[in-house]
């Protein structure tokens, strides 16, 4: 077999003749390396983008000295980190200390294996359409939590331990939300394989018969399907993915002003670089999964996924090489669209970081368990009904549940506290009295009074001087 024939088999053929199994083996290895390096090589441009874009959104320039527009800044960062002294503190658990960054980076790279970046059955992903695709991704991201908690534990530092525990608790809480949003998509698609999920969204449009035939119209991505259930699932997934990657506004465990640097305080040099790469790689991977599940993966309008006919003819006139070139370019174009969509998500990550203040840790956990999880469960219920009994049944149940939830949560105490503008407003709404707390119970403290113009409602109801200390139980020790 000549080299050209072998190379052609390697690139294009799904059926390798017996005896040449090693062509398939090399193909597997090349695909795995492509996916791993694809994620790793995305990290330096992402670092550059974050620093520049964050700067522009904060009305300042980002780094612009190291190369044109600061493009070599990530290289300078990497060199600096490599040349730093690699310190291992004295009383750390050495094995865990060294293994923890690896444990955090590895799941990111491995998850990239099931992300479909193109439609081709051979080169479309590292593991094209393995039938447990999205479950594999979810399982590996759960294992990534080990890296965080082991980093915090092995650092022999109270604050690192706290940061590590907080971070891991946050990650597992929001993984539930992610998982339930993924269940929604799996229900709609009927398969766990990522290529199946993308195929379920590709080349399907809403519109007139002519529009659908021509391949234009409103794309039937999962985020628009079974509206608003797909949209709610997509929103839940997006919020959960920001929390999963410990990005702002969910970045309390690693915020510099809070716990020094959280679980990676004691790490320097290459190990810190691995945490860094793991965080950015995680951003890329969850964005890619979001694009795959909800935004149609590599698909846009079919007319944009192939070379235009005049270019195909041009290449054809170049002979067999031209035909090969056509095939190669045609398989690259959907990947470019996929990367453009992932780029939009990464832009949004940075945009959200520039805008939103940090969530306090208890607010974060409350939001995950009492907000995201019930909403995701209710959404799954509605999607299940919609699939079995038709869209309108599901929509009706969604509307009923939504109204019930809205009325209940808008009326609760916690929600009123959440939306009150002033303490006085809050107090009035909660108790209808201006002074719910009596401070005369404490010896030595004066009675807390309101300024005369506190509220018009107050002057119409009972006057402030009405609250006597006899009405409230005080302990005998204080009274005497």
């Amino acid at each position: 077999m000549s080299f050209a024939h072998g190379f052609h088999l390697f690139l294009f053929s799904t059926h390798i003749p017996a005896g040449y199994w090693w062509i398939d083996f090399i193909r597997v290895v090349v695909r795995a390396l492509m996916s791993m390096f694809g994620i790793l090589l995305t990290v330096p441009p992402l670092i550059w983008l974050e620093r520049r874009l964050l700067g522009f959104m904060q009305q300042r320039l980002g780094p612009n000295r190291v190369g044109p527009w600061g493009l070599f800044q990530p290289l300078a960062d990497a060199l600096k980190l490599l040349m730093k002294e690699d310190i291992i503190p004295n009383n750390v658990d050495r094995t865990l200390y060294v293994v923890a960054p690896i444990l955090m980076l590895m799941p990111t790279l491995v998850t990239a294996g099931v992300i479909p970046w193109g439609p081709s059955q051979l080169w479309g992903a590292a593991a094209p359409n393995v039938n447990v695709g999205i479950l594999y991704a979810l399982a590996w991201s759960s294992l990534g939590v080990y890296g965080v908690v082991l980093a915090g534990w092995s650092s022999n530092n109270k604050y690192s331990l706290l940061g590590g525990l907080r971070s891991s608790a946050q990650m597992i809480s929001y993984e539930l939300g992610m998982g339930l949003a993924i269940v929604t998509v799996v229900l709609i698609t009927g398969s766990l394989g990522t290529s199946d999920i993308v195929q379920h969204q590709a080349n399907q449009f809403w519109g007139t018969a002519w529009m659908v035939h021509e391949g234009i119209g409103f794309p039937k991505w999962h985020i628009f399907r079974l509206f608003p259930m797909g949209f709610v699932a997509g929103a839940i997934y997006i919020i959960s993915m920001v929390a999963e990657t410990n990005r702002a506004p969910f970045d309390l465990p690693e915020a510099e002003t809070e716990l020094v640097a959280g679980y990676h305080t004691e790490y320097t040099s290459m190990k810190f670089a691995m945490f860094f790469m793991a965080e950015y790689g995680n951003m890329v991977v969850v964005s890619a999964i979001a694009v795959t599940l909800f935004f149609g993966g590599w698909s846009v309008f079919p007319v944009l996924e192939h070379l235009p006919p005049f270019m195909v003819n041009l290449y054809h006139s170049w002979g067999r090489f031209g035909d090969g070139l056509t095939d190669v370019v045609n398989s690259i174009i959907p990947t470019v669209w996929f990367m453009a969509k992932v780029f939009c998500f990464l832009w949004s990550f940075i945009w959200i970081r520039a805008t939103l203040p940090r969530l306090r840790y208890d607010m974060l956990m409350n939001f995950g368990w009492k907000g995201i999880l019930p909403i995701a469960l209710g959404n799954i219920l509605c999607v299940a009904f919609a699939i079995v009994y038709g869209y309108f049944v599901g929509l009706a149940i969604w509307i009923v549940l939504g109204v019930v939830v809205l009325v209940v949560t808008a009326g609760t105490t916690s929600s009123k506290k959440f939306t009150a503008k002033t303490r006085l407003q809050n107090t009035l709404r909660l108790t209808n009295v201006a002074e719910p707390f009596v401070t005369t119970a404490h010896a030595g403290y004066g009675r807390q009074t309101l300024p005369p113009d506190a509220s018009s409602e107050l002057t119409s109801s009972q006057p402030a001087g009405d609250l006597d200390s006899e009405k409230y139980a005080t302990s005998d020790a204080v009274r005497n």
Binding site: F56, Q59, R60, W351, T355, L406
Partner: protein, 155 residues
């Protein structure tokens, strides 16, 4: 304060991040407020007190008459003045004396400006030259030729 108000308030709270992102997003294409430092230097106020200069008169004679009032006024004892007589052949300043050696130890100087206030002829002044970083302690003793302004008649 009814249910509808609560729902409206909830809606406002949910849409608040979107409005915030619209603001930060609108900053992206616009000019930044960064001053690109070595290419552009921000103008300082008129009375900014940085490095000393020794002035001259229009005819080229130095203003400094070596009276050491600045050395006496300096709270950090940073100035060293060694005076010498003006002779007929060599006239450096109008008056009897001139400063043969005039040194300021910038590591001791606190940039208070008392020397500028004490000088009777307005010879020493603190200007807005602030790029004074160096890496050897000995180089921080600024001598007279480092601080003297150029002779206008020689340019």
């Amino acid at each position: 304060m009814g249910l509808w108000d609560d729902i409206k308030a909830l809606g406002q709270e949910i849409s608040a991040p979107g409005k915030g992102m619209a603001i930060t997003g609108s900053y992206v294409g616009r000019d930044t407020i960064t001053v690109s430092y070595p290419e552009v230097r921000r103008p300082l106020s008129r009375r900014a007190r940085w490095r000393h200069v020794l002035n001259r008169y229009e005819n080229g004679l130095e203003k400094c008459i070596g009276c050491s009032l600045c050395a006496g006024a300096c709270p950090a004892n940073a100035i060293y003045v060694k005076a010498a007589e003006n002779t007929e052949e060599k006239r450096v300043s109008p008056g009897e004396r001139y400063a043969e050696q005039y040194e300021i130890n910038m590591l001791r100087c606190i940039f208070c400006g008392y020397c500028e206030e004490a000088c009777p002829v307005q010879a020493v002044q603190l200007k807005d030259i602030y790029e004074l970083a160096d890496d050897d302690r000995a180089d921080f003793i600024y001598t007279k030729d480092m601080m003297l302004v150029p002779d206008p008649n020689l340019t």
